[in-house]
Symmetry: C2
Subunit: 302 residues, 2 copies
């Protein structure tokens, strides 16, 4: 591990999990942390999310070889500017944001003299804040690194080794492709979930209490995703607009076809569509990206 | 328990779970079963899904006080006709179908002389077939009974007691309201999940392998629901068309508003919408309708 000191800016679910994962998996590596919210810093100290929690962002990164910005993508530029005075020359600045073109641009604007290598660990839960993190969050999950043109290969290699050290499998991708892939595997699913949960809450003839009682018919699955952090997700949609709109329009085209099939009573079309989708689930489970137990294992608690 | 002999027609996830649940919770009650597929009957005998598995539907219901049809809603009428020769006078015929107006009409057509009391246990997993059932499927889940006008109150009461005996909480509702409530809490979520999983599988610039690898960003949740039985779900959409189209159009209106907000960069609108939906998740968990562990408890296996 060529990074000996890692600074974490933002101590919510992702930042906190990185701190705990470093402590567990890379015991020789020093961590420092910072969060703009004093209450979060206080809680981070109690949980030991980093070895030292600084009260100033520039102090938090002083001496660090690797700085990871774990703030909503709309806050990246300000966070990068705030650490600038403390950054040592040659330090790698990375992040965990869900959209990579905009983050890459923001960080380059704020830190034109530094080595910037954006990254995105595809991992998370619906919870947020300093109590949400845990050391195994990145186990068996993919981390996508999107090095800008001219990024020093040795530093990219070190960042790869860092994420592998936390239990991830690493993929290198260009930022544009990342943003299109994540639009479909993450951003559109969140947009749909937030929307349908909103639709269901606002109905007049079906009460909210009925929606809650009968949610086990499928709806409850969407409420998990729709419980995600609103600031983080607002920023994702503001920062990955083009790819999200493109994928959304494809989904809307397909949904319009389904609507026509239902209207026309076209059972054959529906059967064909509904039969194609089981295979994807099977492959996701084979690839270790989801729990094989029925119903995510919920009934194991019965 | 006023039913002493329960016949189960269709031995997949629901029928099999009823058989196993009766054995576990109502040990004095006799069960007989039938499935149109000889391989399913064979497997049902091995697993003991009912006390006796008959090779003929009329034989399966002979002497039963309660017959529960556990077949896709499009197959209800044929199943009801097939049991008619064996039905004893006064037996209650019920079902577990996900749409109640159409099932009520189908059963009344096939069995004009019998007592019909449709029901819908709001429980299930994405799996199907004779190996999928388990005795605790109905624990803490709601069962909605939709008695037609003129249904004998004593028989309705007995059916309520039966489902309570299997661990469910019972609600009485009219069929029309049921179909609207379930359109939003179950049918639209399934339609959306099937559609987005189909959209993601057919993209050219994002490979299926990428969709699978990065599915932990949210997409994988939808694949669980989209792995549900295609015949069952085709039939639901053919049989609850009006309520589904109505709810789908409300969802599409809300999604169009979200699309406009993304296009216009309206962060305030998005933040407001995304902030409203956490409360619903919290209440679903408080009401015991979902697992409180983050990420459905998936990380408990790490």
């Amino acid at each position: 591990m060529s990074f000996r000191h890692v600074a974490i800016i933002g101590l919510g679910l992702l930042g906190g999990s990185i701190g705990l994962a470093v402590k567990e998996h890379l015991p020789g590596v020093t961590t420092t942390g910072y969060d703009a919210d004093p209450k979060v810093r206080e809680r981070a100290r109690q949980r030991g999310l980093a070895g030292t929690i600084a009260d100033d962002p520039a102090d938090a990164v002083r001496g660090a070889d690797l700085v990871i910005l774990c703030v909503p993508v709309g806050a990246m530029e300000a966070a990068a500017s705030a650490i600038a005075p403390g950054l040592k020359p040659g330090a790698v600045v990375s992040d965990v944001g869900s959209s990579k073109i905009s983050v890459s641009e923001s960080l380059a604007r704020a830190l034109p003299e530094h080595v910037i290598i954006p990254a995105h660990p595809v991992a998370g839960t619906e919870q947020s804040g300093p109590d949400a993190g845990f050391a195994s969050l990145f186990h068996h999950r993919w981390c996508i690194i999107t090095p800008p043109e001219g990024a020093p290969p040795a530093k990219v290699k070190s960042l790869k080794a860092f994420w592998r050290g936390l239990g991830s499998t690493v993929e290198i991708m260009d930022a544009d492709h990342h943003d299109r892939v994540l639009a479909v595997t993450s951003h559109i699913p969140h947009l749909i979930a937030y929307t349908i949960v909103g639709t269901a809450s606002d109905l007049e003839e079906v009460t909210r209490s009925e929606v809650i009682k009968y949610s086990a018919g499928g709806f409850r699955d969407f409420t998990r995703i729709a419980a995600s952090d609103p600031v983080m997700w607002r920023d994702v949609f503001l920062n990955n607009r083009d790819a999200v709109l493109d994928m959304l329009d494809r989904f809307l085209t397909d949904l319009a076809m389904m609507r026509e099939a239902i209207k026309a009573g076209d059972g054959e079309m529906m059967f064909d569509q509904f039969s194609k989708t089981r295979a994807i689930r099977r492959r996701i489970i084979e690839h270790g990206q989801d729990d094989a137990r029925p119903d995510f294992g919920r009934h194991d608690h019965d």
